[in-house]
């Protein structure tokens, strides 16, 4: 219990300090996206210049994501609050202004729906039920309760889920479930993901990935 208590305090502090910097410059950001931080791979290598990412490789789509959310995630990779053997060495030489610039670049890009093959109807129906109605008997709140109508995201703390790659969504839910990711403010996702079954994770990722990133039906 003590562990959880310290965890959310830490999370709350991160939430308060997370977006201390002003808006970045997308033009400067584009240069950094292409050139990288001076060591390791540049952003463009995995996330693309268009921010589309790559589903099979598990690289998230960044185009159209909230800039404040992206800033916090990159800073967390840099500090180790969010762990990734890929991301940490690739962003560790970026300063706060550069991170803000990169975030501003990707946030301003247009988003197109993912082009996925049609999923299994049963899986998608379960995913839709979880995302829009939840599973309250197991204390699983619908995704859209926090991520907003159409799961397009709310501010910098609740990222867009609609149109994100299913492999990435699955990876993250499993990372919260197992505790390998714990940089979520107030540990809200840790609580929810811990209650999701593997089948539910599969289903909700499949459904969310097929939704319009702009919230259209």
């Amino acid at each position: 219990m003590m562990q959880v208590y310290r965890g959310w305090l830490f999370g709350a502090v991160l939430a308060l300090t997370g977006v201390a910097h002003g808006a970045g410059d997308p033009e400067k950001g584009k240069l950094i996206v292409t050139a990288g931080d001076g060591s390791g791979a540049p952003c463009v290598a995995c996330h693309g210049l268009d921010g589309a990412g790559n589903d099979l490789a598990g690289f998230p789509r960044l185009a159209g994501m909230d800039a404040g959310y992206l800033v916090k995630q990159v800073r967390d990779y840099r500090s180790g609050a969010r762990k990734s053997a890929v991301m940490s060495p690739n962003v560790d030489d970026l300063n706060d202004d550069q991170i803000a610039d990169v975030a501003a670049y990707y946030a301003a890009l247009d988003t197109a729906p993912t082009s996925l093959p049609s999923g299994a109807p049963g899986t998608l129906a379960l995913g839709e039920a979880l995302a829009t109605k939840g599973d309250w008997d197991h204390y699983i709140v619908p995704c859209e309760t926090c991520h907003g109508p159409g799961n397009v995201g709310v501010g910098s703390d609740f990222p867009k889920l609609a149109g994100q790659h299913p492999t990435y969504i699955k990876q993250q839910l499993k990372a919260w479930k197992t505790g390998t990711r714990n940089n979520d403010p107030n540990h809200l996702m840790l609580a929810i993901a811990g209650r999701l079954t593997e089948t539910q994770i599969e289903a909700v990722a499949a459904w969310l990935a097929r939704q319009d990133p702009k919230g259209g039906k």
């Binding site: 709350a12 060495p89 840790l190």
Partner: protein, 250 residues
């Protein structure tokens, strides 16, 4: 730094790691001995139920839609920016988060709040007048019928006039207010635990005009007869308890 392909390979290994984190517990007050604990039906149950006529199913689902998307009546029956589901979590089914079905099994009854015997419709009207800061739909109207049907269906198979109900209302922090309580400490707790959803000043958060996290006070929230008049603050109850017991906040 590592060559790019090696980094990818490491990511795959990490991605398949199977550590286990402690699950965040759902901390409910225990049910007392002799209490009736209801398990309200779900929409899936409704659709499968052969005993309920399709015409009634339609009316129940309309009641659910009014309950979940109350803001569709903003400016007509609702003047706050709240919906029923904001206080009665989990579609009005969830224990300790103001489950609504007990209104169907314990009314008509005398209520101290207004000093007379209330019907289910009058109880629902109270929520429109105070919590929604609005104007109730007329008694006997299609809207009232739909909301009553939704309440009564959620109470399916619950004993009538059984008042020893486990998980009714909200959990209580006790009637005695601690002497050392202070708004400075309250602000700290609020900023650490509530502000992420309800905003730095309790104004709530919206996306394109749609409320995601409800405002906690002010013109867009409940009025004097809502949570305050209903005895939330009077009995030193905490709305945080609602979030916590719904395990929205660990």
């Amino acid at each position: 730094m590592r060559p790019f392909s090696t980094v990818l390979w490491v990511a795959v290994i990490l991605g398949s790691g199977m550590l286990h984190a402690a699950e965040v517990p759902v901390e409910h007050p225990p049910f007392k001995k002799g209490q009736y604990v209801h398990h309200a039906p779900t929409v899936d149950d409704l659709m499968k139920d052969q005993e309920i006529k399709p015409q009634l199913k339609k009316v129940i689902l309309k009641g659910r839609d009014i309950f979940m998307n109350t803001q569709q009546y903003r400016g007509k029956y609702v003047f706050s920016r709240l919906s029923c589901k904001n206080c009665h979590l989990g579609e009005g089914r969830l224990n300790w988060s103001g489950p609504i079905w007990p209104a169907a099994t314990t009314l008509p009854d005398y209520r101290g709040k207004n000093g007379h015997v209330n019907s289910l419709e009058e109880r629902i009207a109270g929520c429109f007048s105070f919590s929604l800061n609005g104007k109730p739909p007329e008694y006997g109207s299609d809207m009232m019928l739909a909301l009553s049907a939704y309440h009564q269906w959620l109470a399916l198979k619950a004993p009538v006039y059984e008042t020893h109900i486990g998980g009714r209302g909200y959990s209580s922090l006790g009637k005695d207010i601690p002497k050392d309580i202070h708004y400075v400490q309250g602000e700290k707790v609020y900023q650490a635990q509530c502000a992420i959803c309800h905003g730095a000043t309790g104004q709530g958060k919206s996306v394109e005009g749609k409320v995601v996290f409800p405002p906690l006070w002010g013109d867009d929230s409940y009025n004097w007869g809502g949570w305050y008049g209903a005895g939330f603050t009077r009995r030193h109850r905490s709305s945080r308890t609602t979030c916590r017991l719904a395990s929205l906040v660990p």
